[in-house]
Symmetry: C2
């Protein structure tokens, strides 16, 4: 785990590679890939170097091999099973999102506290929250997605961990506490948007200033 960011980039590379492949490329150079994800080419080579991926001097990298290699590193050559907790806006959208399946991630079920939203016959079944622990244990689920309100999030996490979940993607806008043996990754939508607002304001001010000085 030499660099936490490099692993995020590996996923990006894989994405870009898939696109480049459909565009007809069979091999690729570090600078093409760098362009595609917006970093510089040594970054690409260094990332590959860290994970022991090697190419061919002057010949670049074979795309198929590269994707295979990345999938191995990312644990994507086996289908990954996950559940979502919370069938609200975000939870429901994630359940319907096709992007996961395409990437070897299967959402096995959604869990929801509101009995009116429970629907075991849906394409992806929406089950009662009380059945979560049993489901996780029976199906050996390792990955959970939390899409419940802030106030319920910690409790959901605790139950997941208790049942054996090892990795959690959390959409509740709050920092959750998890034991060492469980990884938590947070996505905070408001925060991402605030970030855009801040930097675009900043940029606008900087450009105005430049214009005045010129």
């Amino acid at each position: 785990m030499r660099n936490k960011n490099s692993i995020i980039r590996l996923s990006r590379y894989k994405n870009a590679l898939r696109r480049l492949k459909t565009m007809g490329f069979g091999r690729i150079f570090s600078d093409n890939l760098a362009d595609a994800i917006g970093v510089n080419s040594c970054q690409v080579r260094k990332d590959f170097s860290i994970f022991g991926i090697s190419g061919n001097k002057r010949g670049g990298y074979q795309i198929d091999e590269l994707i295979e290699h990345l999938n191995n590193i990312l644990g994507k050559n086996i289908i990954q099973h996950a559940i979502i907790v919370g069938a609200g806006n975000i939870g429901a959208a994630l359940a319907k999102y096709e992007g996961f399946e395409k990437d070897g991630i299967r959402i096995d079920a959604v869990f929801e506290a509101d009995p009116l939203k429970v629907n075991p016959r849906a394409d992806i079944p929406v089950l009662a929250a009380d059945d979560m622990i049993e489901f996780i244990q029976k199906n050996d689920i390792r990955i959970g997605i939390i899409a419940v309100p802030e106030s319920a999030a910690q409790q959901v996490l605790d139950l997941m961990v208790l049942s054996g979940v090892k990795g959690i993607l959390n959409f509740a806008p709050i920092r959750l506490r998890a034991p060492r043996e469980c990884v938590v990754n947070n996505v905070n939508l408001v925060l991402e948007l605030e970030n855009v607002i801040y930097f675009s304001n900043l940029l606008e001010k900087a450009l105005e200033k430049d214009a005045q000085e010129a």
Copy 2:
């Protein structure tokens, strides 16, 4: 812009502060705040120092003042108007998400290419994609959210920029090209989940190894 991460943390602080306030706190120390968002206390003080926020030695920080100050820095003392393009799973969920409004971000409209999904009378109106440029210009919209498929994303960005949008939050899983005067922030849900999978696998292997060695 001394440190790109510090601005992200400012949003997190603000979030935590709101929570701490509802819990009855009136003032706060750097180590409480650090705990709340999971960093160490010098980080908090250094972040504040960078943005000229100061507290009271031994007295800590007044929460109300601090929130006010953060809102100023983040440009959140004025309501920020934004639009969403794409009324699919993600776009629709974002439109319904209450988190934005609470934070002074108003979604003024959603734009959608599919005429069947257009509904100008919805709570947040869903308008025809062709009307986007005019809407952005008339309403002086600066912030756009892209929630369309990968294949349409670049085109949407280009139109937004052309119309005057200065900051974009992109949910399409692709790197978009934007001119210097427009900030783009990417959220890639599959990638976030892959990250969880990678690190939880890694952790599990590491723990197994520890157990064997012990």
